[in-house]
Amino acid sequence: MANHKDVLFGLYSDEEVLLKAVKKAKAAHLDIMDVFTPFPVHGLDEALDLKESRLHIVGFIFGLIGSLTAFLGMTWIFTDDWPIIIGGKPYWSVPAFIPITFELTVLFASIGMVVVFYVIGGLGPGVTNPTLDDRITDDKFCIAFDQHGMSDKDIDKVKSFLKDSGAEEIHTKTI
């Protein structure tokens, strides 16, 4: 990896302590690199000022593509490409197109969202992302700071913040 990062991080063992610490860090204008938790902690995204995820918009767009593909596809096939009268119904028998239109809407929206979710997060089969501590997927909650551009004084400030806010362990790791 070209860009090595020196990461200073604190491990907490309770999500409520973590959440208070994150709020404190934000109030003190500390520049948090990332927070890692074993499960989704509600309120964390607001505490970190994360913007609302726009994945649902992706879902809507893909769903729309699915609807149009199905509906316009069937329309073209049954009115233009190969018109057949089935059961005495009109060529363009809209009610009969609804089930497949619905299914393809759901199919496109789901696949599109899932693929986008993995791609924008840098996740995928066989991907190895650096992790700070093996216990983060077990029972530890981690606040991480990038030491790049920090003076020794800044580092000490972050360390004392971690300690004061309830971190049980403080480590540095190059990832």
Partner: protein
């Protein structure tokens, strides 16, 4: 963590005063230990059934469906009965994972992972039947609308059988994506606990998951939207399956009650299969503190409700056929109850309508043995229901000269046993490879559903403790 207020009468869903680490231990160890004799025994039986199934499928493909006892009058027999049965079983997994998520039912968390796995394996079994019953499986891809050298001649988009193809393939894909996305963080947990080859393997399947706040935020958003999509999807799937019958002109099939009645029946049979699996899983893998009596009771309530809906639907059908004043419709139902297949109608009524009523008793709802036997009963009853709808209706068609009777050949029975083999082989492998209970999700609900926080044994009052500390 900002907790939503929990009612004091809510019973705990995680017992044994678990810590986060204990949860990881309890739920990961079944995948890390060597399997015990019971697992090997079950796996051997499942594999045997699977082998029988493969032999019978090969025979069917080799000789054609002449290996089955279908005839000119009865064109659908065990094949489509099994198809509808399996697809119905799958529905409970989606109901638990998606609909209960939207309704914010926390008890879904203990059982959703296994139920979703069940959905996927059941849909696989179901999809097998339409594929082999067409007779010439090597041209089954003709179903798919692709530009071809036959015109291009397209499939009939107005046909419910084609809608079914789209519904089942979409349902399988979406269920798989939903399930796997939930598994990724748990695979990361297994990865971080292991070394060597095992770590490499779980590293591959955990997609580089780190637990970053932004990832979790998107993961939550994705799960919610997928749940929102899966909810109408699951209802559409069995609705479309019922269209296979309801859009035909056969008396007894051509009814508007079919979609809701099929969906209720699907959920009913699916929950029964979840119970069968959970009762065994929680005992064998020692998960009684995660899949508690509370979970079992909640599912029994769903069985009671959907069983009653199904019962009302049966009676409505009878009433409407009488009230229609249409003798062919009346005959279809008279024949169902008192014709040559009276025994299957009786079995269906007993297993689906009468037996679930026992669940009005709280004692029976909370009894593991009762639950297990009832779940088997319901599974059998719902199989009978599909058999009743398909075989009894076809056996007495318009011309008495064509009336016929049908019982399965050993090949048909073998294929059914084979699907049971496929289902249980995959399920048993799943219990070895992935946590059967969603690890991250249990941790997420611990503080609002753990027995140290709520219920009569609660001793933690977490928020106040924190206030004193900080």
């Amino acid at each position: 963590m900002s907790h939503s207020p929990v009612s004091p009468i809510r019973a705990p869903l995680v017992e044994g005063h678990k810590t986060y680490h204990q949860i990881t231990e309890d739920l990961s160890t079944p995948t890390e230990k060597r399997p015990n004799a019971a697992w090997w025994g079950a796996f051997a039986v499942a594999l045997t059934f699977l082998t029988i199934g493969v032999i019978c499928i090969v025979l069917t493909i080799w000789d054609g469906i002449t290996e089955w006892n279908l005839n000119r009058t009865i064109g659908w027999g065990w094949d489509i009965t099994n198809f509808v049965w399996w697809i119905g079983i799958g529905h409970a997994g989606t109901l638990i994972s998606a609909i209960l998520l939207l309704f914010r039912q926390k008890w879904r968390t203990g059982v959703n992972r296994a139920a979703e796995a069940m959905t996927i394996f059941a849909v696989m079994c179901a999809a097998l039947f339409p594929a082999i019953h067409v007779g010439r499986i090597w041209v089954v891809f003709f179903f798919f609308p692709y530009p071809n050298s036959r015109g291009p001649l397209w499939p009939n988009f107005n046909s419910p059988l084609l809608w079914d193809l789209f519904a089942i393939s979409t349902y399988f894909t979406v269920s798989l994506l939903f399930w796997y996305t939930g598994l990724v963080p748990d695979f990361a947990t297994l990865r971080d606990r292991s070394k060597g080859l095992r770590r490499k393997m779980y590293n591959f399947v955990s997609f580089g998951w780190t637990g970053s706040a932004k990832h979790w935020q998107r993961h939550e958003s994705l799960s919610l939207v997928l749940a929102g999509l899966a909810t109408p999807l699951v209802l559409s799937v069995h609705t479309i399956v019922s269209f296979d019958f309801a859009t035909s002109v056969i008396p007894g099939w051509h009814t508007t009650i079919f979609p809701p009645y099929f969906v209720a029946g699907a959920i009913f049979s699916g929950f029964a299969m979840v119970q069968t699996l959970m009762v065994i899983t929680r005992k064998v893998l020692n998960l009684k503190q995660y899949i508690t009596l509370e979970h079992i009771e909640s599912m029994n309530k769903v069985i009671l409700l959907t069983g009653t809906i199904v019962g009302v639907a049966y009676l409505t059908e009878l009433f409407i056929s009488w009230y229609s004043g249409y003798i062919y419709e009346q005959f279809a139902f008279f024949n169902r109850a008192l014709g040559p297949y009276w025994w299957s109608y009786f079995g269906m009524m007993l297993c689906n309508v009468i037996s679930p009523q026992l669940f009005w008793s709280k004692k029976i709802r909370r009894s593991v043995w009762w639950t297990f036997f009832m779940s088997i009963f319901v599974n059998i009853g719902m199989w009978f229901e599909r058999f009743v709808i398909i075989a009894t209706t076809l056996a007495r068609d318009y011309l008495p000269s064509s009336w016929s009777y049908y019982s399965p050949s050993w090949v048909e029975i073998g294929i059914f046993l084979g699907t049971l083999g496929i289902f249980f082989t995959f399920y048993l492998l799943f219990t070895r490879l992935a946590p059967v209970v969603a690890v991250a999700e249990i941790k997420h609900i611990l503080k609002s559903a753990g027995d140290q926080y709520i219920g009569k044994d609660a001793h933690h009052h977490h928020s106040s403790e924190i206030t004193q500390e900080s």
